[in-house]
Amino acid sequence: MKDMQEKLRAAVKTLLDKHEVAFVIGYQRGSVRGRSKPCFVRTPEQADQLIWDQTCSNNLTVYLPPLFRRPRLRPGQEPPPLPRVGIVVKGCDALSVAGLVREKQVPRANIVAIGMPCQGILDPDSKQVLPSCLDCQHPVPEQADIKIDGPAREPAKDPLARAREFEAKPIEERWRYFAEQIKKCIRCYACREACPNCYCKSCFADSTNPRWIGLSSEQSDTMLYQLGRLFHQAGRCVGCNACVRACPMGVDLHTFTTKLLKDAKELFDDTPGEDTESVPLLSTFDPHDSDAFITDPDKQD
Amino acid sequence: MNNPYIPYPVVIKDITIENDAKDLKSFTLAFERQEDADAFDYMPGQFAELSVFGYGECPIGIASSPTEPGILRFTIKRTGRLTRELHNSEIGRKIGVRGPLGNTFPWSEMEGRDVVVVGGGFAFTTLRAATTYMLDPAHRKKFNKLTVVYGARSPGELMYKDLLAQWAKSKDIDLVVTVDAGDADWKGRVGFVPAVLEQEAPASKNAVTLVCGPPIMIKFTIPVLRKLGFADRDIFLSLEMRMKCGIGKCGRCNIGRKYVCIDGPVFTYEELSDLPQEF
């Protein structure tokens, strides 16, 4: 892995030396045991602070959409030129890049993705590979512009197994589990802020008119927040699980994001992050989509 | 111990539309209980949290003067959810009021001095209170010459028209009303407040000035006042900030270490220059 780190630094130095990008977003050594920290590298010399190992947890693409947001212009004012940015991506993060490009948040030509094959992120305390990484099907960022060689995990055989197992549980048990997870949530919204897809300029959770979500510690409000946020990721979530890693309270969002992936795949054969050209799943339709869930009162069931 | 978060119940007694755009209305409120009215002991410059049940609270400067007995008045611009609801209210509706909050205009410092009141647009509310207070026969003698410069975008946007007419006739006050742009019927002054102020050139010797208005007016008025010789410590401004508690606990209305709700809303220009420019 040291070797990968060297290659990464060299690649970044070259990019910056040749002025191909304005800066590179990568990881540096963290201050807490088992943690890394995002960093913005602007000069070739700074490239030496970049690291690559199994602590490189954040999905750095969360920093991309704000960089390409059009500022409000006065009449006649020219829009400022968009930067070209380098970014260090794992397999899952590369999917996020594609997802953001497909949603027209990030111009693909302005991104230089430096792909790092990934062996899974370690839990800072237990030093075990995180459960959410065990389901990873994309440990190697195939779509990266610069590919750094190195060892990677075996892709999970069945990345959706967790959802399948959960579905098989009795409904009351599922509800209990969901309610237990909700109980842990302190509504700090770290999950939202860590999610590259949560780039909405104003979030339903913050809206005061209408106020979707009460601000009290009422459980149903927390449920509404989590259901609302999760479902807003339907057909968009790439399964990077940055939300899971950001949560300070250990709320298991992974079980629920996996369901979104599963339904996107199984109902509509869509894998968000796989391509940059298609229309996001829920922004379009196919006349032949199934009507199986539609209640037909004339039919006896 | 009185709970400072609990509003006094009040009833809307009167509603006046103040401008042609109809987005400024004055609400006259009456306390339901006499003891609350007694407890609500205020001076011009202060504000209160108006409370519309189901819509929350918002801080509004008090537009009436304690010299107007039995009247508690607020002039409110329709801006957000709560103010829209207030504007849709009818006479007789019960609302709440929490206060008085914040500091006042510098009443003791103003005694024995000239007072120059400079107001622009809708921010004239607490200045209306201050002017009314000073014009009260019981108080007028405490102050020397009183000059009021008040401007609005257009004649239709001038508030308190009856009162202005009354003041215009009074010998106790030099009133200058100006509009940014007049219309066919407008016979008065036309010009921006800072420019008119400069023309009027009120004396700065032994004088205090109270300034309220939109940021752009403040920006151009300050240099004029300084040119006229007003010291920074004699220029008093009233600030607005998003607030919740109004009593220095909730932590959002601070500018540096100063809390607008308890250290303000009235600050001298000298104080403000000393604070971080984050407002």
Binding site: F166, F285, D291 | -
Partner: protein, 149 residues
């Protein structure tokens, strides 16, 4: 949220169904059912929306939170949408939403989707009968309901 509530109230409890109906087909269908004096349970509260595609999934969850025991969404039959394809975009969304809510533990019968045209008064009446009975079997909604509701 406790079980006792459910039992105590079951005797005189009537399901409350919130129905989001599109203006052009299903609302007209409901109207037709009314004009035709067709019998259906009084359990339903109708919210008229321009198109089933206009329905934000939050509306559905919010209705459950605010005390609905069941939610019905109905629009024009596929191919008949006044806005050409609003109901088709909605269909995907609802398919996933229903699955997702079921996944976290909301019975499928609580949130139902259907197509009712302007001419289908009887179908609308039958639909309300069906969803009311489905929800009655489930009992009051306690899962997402506000505890203070």
């Amino acid at each position: 949220m406790n079980k006792n509530d459910t039992h105590e109230n079951t005797a005189d409890w009537e399901p409350r169904i919130v129905a989001f109906l599109c203006n052009w087909c299903s609302y007209a269908g409901a109207d037709l059912a009314g004009i035709g004096r067709m019998q259906y349970p009084p359990s339903v509260r109708v919210v008229r929306v321009p198109c089933s595609g206009r329905i934000n999934p939050l509306y559905i969850v919010k209705a459950l939170q605010e005390g609905a025991d069941g939610v019905l969404v109905s629009g024009c039959h596929p191919g008949d949408c006044h806005y050409i394809s609003g109901n088709l975009v909605a269909r995907r969304k609802f398919a996933m939403l229903r699955e997702f809510l079921f996944y976290v533990g909301i019975p499928k019968e609580r949130v139902q989707f259907s197509w009712v045209s302007a001419a289908e008064g009887p179908r609308f009446a039958a639909l309300i009968r069906k969803i009311t009975e489905d929800v009655r079997k489930l009992g009051p909604n306690t899962k997402l309901a506000k505890s203070s509701a």
